[in-house]
Structure formats: C-alpha cells, structure tokens
C-alpha cells in the first residue's frame, strides 16, 4: 500500500484500484474541534478537484476535494456518530471515503510523505 498527499491536506491510501481518502493531522489541527462530516453518496462519480465532502468545526464549514477521480464505494459511517474521530485519528480511523480509481496516472502528481512534510514545514 502506498500513501500520497495533496496540497489541500488530504491523504490517499492506494491498494490496487481502491483509494481511501481522509484529511491530514495538520488539517484537523487547523480546523479545530470537528462536529460534523458530510460524506459523499455511495456511487457518486467524482472528478479530481470536485467537492467530495464537507467538514464542519464549531466555527466554520470547509470543503474536502476529491484528491483523485473515481467512484465512491464506501463511506466511513463511524463519523456520523463520532465526528471527533477526525481529530483523534485523522490519518487512520477518521478516514472519509473509499473510491475506485478511474485514472491512476493522477497519483503521479501527488506528494509522498517526505514531500508533504516539507510542504507543511514551509507554510
């Protein structure tokens, strides 16, 4: 399995044709206490850059974009009852959705962990 990152602070775990998407620990730290996550519909066909989910903190709503194109096959139902999972475990239990990749070449433009860390350090 390989993990990729975007400059919108999402992580993408890829296993074969399936990608799991969430927001990074840096992102959850910036957003603060998360009180609601609106996940996409199962079956939704997302193009890279589309609005895919909404994450709501006490103060504000933030969009989560589709890091890669694909068809949504699963969403994290645990977030419905416990949105704070995104704060406590952003890069594991707090994942948002899974999709079947429609264009694996998009992964070439994403960052690896080292590049993402350098990107965050430069902010």
């Amino acid at each position: 399995m390989s993990r990729y990152y975007t400059d919108e602070h999402e992580w993408v775990d890829v296993e074969g044709e399936t990608a799991t998407v969430g927001i990074t620990d840096y992102a959850q730290e910036q957003l603060g206490d998360i009180v609601f996550v609106e996940t996409p519909e199962i079956g939704a066909e997302l193009e890279q850059g589309d609005d895919a989910a909404v994450v709501e903190s006490v103060k504000a709503a933030s969009d989560v974009y589709a890091a890669v194109s694909g068809t949504v096959v699963e969403v994290n139902d645990a977030l419905e009852d416990e949105p704070a999972l995104v704060n406590s475990s952003a890069e594991e239990d707090g994942w948002f959705f899974r999709l079947t990749l429609s264009d694996t070449s998009e992964l070439d433009d994403l960052m690896d962990e080292k590049a993402y860390k350098a990107f965050v350090d430069g902010l």
Binding site: G32, V35, F36, E56, V58, K59, A61
Partner: protein, 381 residues
C-alpha cells in the same frame, strides 16, 4: 465572522501576549486578533464553568462630555439616555435617519460624562456620525489609548475579588458589589480602571477599561488565577450565539429595523412616546409586532450545522429568509442558528426548512437564549 481587509492590520496592545500564550491570530475588524488558544470547544466550556479573559480592545471606547450630551445622543439612539442614573449602563442602537441599525452599543452614565462602547468594525463611521450630530457644547473623545478586557463566567467575580481592586473613594463599593449593567471607576494599585458588570457571553462578568500600557500586567495577573484562561474570538462567537445575542454586521445591519431584529426592549417607553429619534416614524410603525420578518433562534434537526448565508425556503424552494449566524453549540452539543423568517413563522416550535449547498435541512424555531443567562442582577424590591 472574520472581516478580512486587504489594508494593513493593526495590532492590539496585547499582541505579543496573545502570541506568547499560543493565540492563533486572524484578521478581524481591522486588527490581528486571537481566534483561539487551546481550541474553541475547550475555551467555550471553560468560560461556562470557570472564567475566561477576552481581549476586546478592538472595540471603540468613546466619551461624550458636556451639558447636552444625553440629548444629542438621544437624537440617534432610541434608549432613554437622559434618565440613565449615575453608574448605570444601557444597551442601545445607533440608528440611521431611516431607522436602519448602524451599530449596537453600551452607554454608561459615569456622572462626569457618557462612556460608550461601540463595535470595532464600525467605530470610525460611528464617531463621524456622532460628530455630525453633536453641538459645540459637547466634546467627543475617542479613548484610543485604553484597552478593554472582558472577564466572563460564573467564577469571574471570585477571580476579580482576588486582585485587590479598590474604589476611588474609601466608602464606595468594590467591583464585585456592582450588579449587572452597573459600572464604576476603580484603582488597581496606581492604575485607574473603569469596570462594568456586563459582557457578551450570557454569563456573569466584567468589562474592564485599562490604560493600554498596563493591559498586559492586568491580563497576566488575571490569567495567573486558577479560575481564568485566555479565550479567543471563536468561543466569543459561540458563547454569544448560545446567549441569543446578535452580532452587528451579521444578525443586523443598516437594512434592518429594531423590531425586525427582535430588539423591542431597546425601544424605551419614554422614547417611543416622544418619537423623536432618527427614523422613529418608520421604526415605530413596526412596533410592537408589525414587522414582515423577524430574527428568531433555530434548532437544527440533525447534527449538521447551518451557517450564515443559508436560505430559509418555502415548500416550493423559494427563498423567504436567511440564516445570519449559525454554528455548533458546545453547551448543548448540537447545532443552533439565528435567522430572519416571515412573521407568520416566528412562533416557537414552527418547523421551517433551510437550504444549504443544495440540501434541504429541517429546523425548528426555538426560544432564545438557547442557554439561560446567568447575570448578577440586582434583586427586585
């Protein structure tokens, strides 16, 4: 609630103190201000249970001095300022000539002058409007060298008592003797303080005007107490929303009249009878319940917050109103909002629909405050 401006942001007297305490600074009302320290949720709950210290030095502090000050002010506010006793505070509205709300403000009769606290984002326009109204026998002073700190929460009084703040005269009351909406002059060592028992959280608390050069010393002394932590703008917003208190520029503006804003209590009886304040004819034509729309509170059925800008819609999806503030209530652990709705829908318990990002969300009109006020009111005789 951020009012981003491209112009150069000003720094608060406590700027470096906020940064040293981990404050995350954001642009607001032309200043760099701390939006949070340890997190909005924790700061909010701390204030409801203990005491929080808020830096509100961006707000405008203004003195009106002179024989005709109260009368001059009454021309543009609907509050009974001339009847305000010494040491008493009144909440009132600054009205345009057409009755639209230009700002909301606190007016204190200090007995030597009128002391006004106005919103930061509107203060320069307010002052220009005051100056245009005032005759030559009234002088306006913008107290730009004063900082303003708010200490809010059920333990605010026991915390403030530990500072040994004394009255200006030995036989005058100490700060904790003040009741809600009373104010007085005090000394903390050799530092003069103007202290009001008032605030913007729904809790008991104080607002303290202190010379800017001494603000850091006062903030440090308060935050050294076990009851007190610094609190940012994020929690200030969620606290005032739970308390049902409107935020100028969001829940009211120049296109909104006082009755629409559900602020009938700010139209004092004597002033309604005189009918001689700016826009009185238009304002009073709506009094007490003849406005077409009104500001109400909303509970959201579900867990998704609705935000400022979302539309209130009818059964056909037509926009009939707007959400003006919305967020998650840390105290109630569910989303709450304020919205303008047609008068036919203002009854508590009325079901309404809000549309946000193309999604219909069902809401129920709720009584405000959402969380009961906890003011230290003077006992009724």
């Amino acid at each position: 609630m951020s009012d981003d401006k491209t112009e150069t942001l000003k720094k608060l007297p406590l700027d470096s103190w906020h940064r040293d305490h981990g404050g995350r600074m954001v642009p607001f009302a032309g200043y760099e201000m701390p939006v949070q320290y340890e997190g909005v949720m924790a700061e909010h709950l701390w204030t409801r249970e203990n005491a929080g210290l808020f830096d509100v030095s961006h707000m405008g502090q203004v003195q009106l001095e002179g024989e005709g000050a109260a009368d001059a002010l009454e021309a543009i506010v609907p509050g009974n300022i001339s009847a305000l006793g010494a040491g008493k505070i009144r909440y009132t509205l600054l009205l345009a000539q057409d009755g639209g709300i230009l700002d909301d403000l606190m007016v204190t009769n200090t007995s030597r002058n009128l002391y006004l606290v106005v919103n930061g984002a509107t203060k320069h326009d307010d002052i220009a409007y005051f100056n245009a109204q005032l005759s030559s026998d009234v002088t306006l002073k913008h107290l730009e060298d004063q900082a303003l700190l708010a200490l809010q929460g059920p333990k605010a009084s026991e915390a403030l008592a530990k500072l040994n703040i004394s009255p200006m005269q030995p036989d005058w009351p100490v700060p904790t003797d003040l009741y809600f909406m009373e104010a007085g002059p005090f000394m903390w060592g050799d530092i003069p303080l103007g202290i009001s028992r008032s605030g913007y959280t729904g809790e008991d608390g104080f607002e303290i005007s202190v010379p800017a050069g001494h603000a850091e010393k006062l903030a440090a002394a308060l935050c050294a107490l076990e009851e007190v932590k610094p609190i940012g703008l994020g929690a200030r917003d969620s606290l005032r929303l739970e308390a049902g208190l409107p935020l100028y520029g969001h829940d009211m503006d120049a296109d909104i009249l006082p009755v629409e804003a559900n602020l009938n209590f700010a139209l004092s009886k004597a002033r309604r009878e005189e009918g001689n304040f700016a826009g009185a004819e238009r304002v009073l034509a709506q009094y007490p319940d003849k406005a077409d729309k009104k500001r109400v509170g909303l509970f959201i059925n579900g867990r998704q917050p609705i935000r400022e800008g979302a539309s209130v819609v009818d059964a056909d999806g037509n926009s009939i109103g707007a959400v003006t503030s919305g967020g998650f209530s840390p105290t109630l652990q569910k989303p709450i909002a304020m919205a303008y709705v047609p008068t036919a829908l203002v009854e508590t318990g009325t079901e309404i629909t809000v549309e946000q990002r193309g999604k219909a969300i069902s809401c129920t009109v709720a009584d405000m405050p959402f969380v009961p006020h906890n003011y230290h009111r003077k006992p009724k005789l």
